[in-house]
């Protein structure tokens, strides 16, 4: 099951946020939440790389609690995709890379009205992203 998605750029600006099956809210504003999230990712990334006893290669990939898993994918341009799912979901990295090339590149990068470095406001992107996420087998409620 997919809960929510954050997209950050390389400077930590929240480019886009969307949620689907989120049952518990953080109780702080979305702005604060995004800053908190980015701060944690930044720290986790540097922690993982520092503490790694061998070459960390890709570094931080995901973490899991007993209730949810947070998946992290960073592309070469520094764009970061953060997806929260239930703990059984697999193949998230591929899913996020597909989302990047089929939705982000197509409907944000190729939209002449998007200004580089600003949050995405295009309805078309929103629609396409929502369709893409809902069409994924990962989306559905967990079958127990």
């Amino acid at each position: 099951m997919i809960y929510n998605l954050y997209i950050f750029d390389k400077y930590g600006t929240l480019m886009y946020y969307s949620e689907w099956n989120r049952l518990k809210q953080s109780g702080i504003t979305k702005d604060e939440e995004a800053k908190l999230m980015y701060g944690m990712l930044f720290s986790l990334k540097s922690f993982v790389n520092k503490i790694s006893p061998i070459d960390p290669k890709e570094g931080f990939l995901f973490y899991k609690t007993n209730k949810y898993a947070l998946h992290y994918v960073e592309v070469s341009s520094g764009l970061k995709f953060v997806l929260n799912t239930d703990t059984t979901a697999t193949g998230i990295k591929d899913f996020l890379l597909q989302l990047y090339s089929k939705i982000w590149v197509e409907y944000v990068v190729r939209n002449p009205l998007w200004t580089i470095g600003t949050p995405v406001t295009s309805d078309l992107f929103k629609t396409k992203l929502d369709e893409f996420v809902r069409a994924s087998p990962l989306f559905g409620p967990k079958i127990i």
């Binding site: 197509e106 409907y107 190729r110 939209n111 002449p112 009205l113 295009s122 309805d123 078309l124 629609t127």
Partner: protein
């Protein structure tokens, strides 16, 4: 599709550059239209070299809708209409410069900026084929666009 992307990005930069440069003259699309005109004029020279001379005006319009459009936008015009009095309406249901913008009315106010170049392109091409015209565009719901061609017969 690298070469398509580069044409798209260059076009969108030309749009924002020419419009920002004008400063106080808001929404002056004439510079864009003129760039389109000269581009169209030049394109025709090479594109028609394999073609026999066109029979008449309608024949020329058909060429614009099919081969000309395909070579630039990788698709043909979806609908061509005329009143046989020198007015032609070319409808593209998924006009390239609009497909990434919206599929509804969001950003509709920006649409004219992204069709001005193409209006010029069509006018320039027709000019080099011996047809003087005025080309305007109409966008009601993106990404669909209608190009109105009014031929000047004088």
């Amino acid at each position: 599709m690298a070469e398509e992307a580069i044409f798209e990005y260059l076009h969108s930069e030309i749009v924002s550059y020419t419009l920002n440069k004008e400063g106080d003259k808001e929404n002056d699309l004439s510079a864009l239209e003129y760039i389109g005109y000269t581009t169209g004029y030049r394109i025709i020279e090479r594109l028609t070299r394999e073609w026999p001379r066109f029979k008449d005006e309608l024949d020329t319009m058909k060429f614009i809708c099919t081969d000309f459009w395909s070579s630039i936008y990788r698709k043909q015009i979806d609908n061509l209409r005329t009143n046989h009095q020198g007015v032609y309406v070319l409808q593209d249901n998924a006009f390239r410069f609009l497909t990434r913008l919206s599929t509804g009315s969001q950003y509709l106010e920006h649409a004219p900026k992204f069709v001005a170049f193409t209006c010029g392109l069509v006018r320039g091409s027709l000019a080099n084929l011996g047809i003087t015209s005025v080309v305007t565009a109409e966008v009601q719901t993106m990404p669909s666009c209608k190009f109105h061609i009014q031929v000047n017969r004088g």
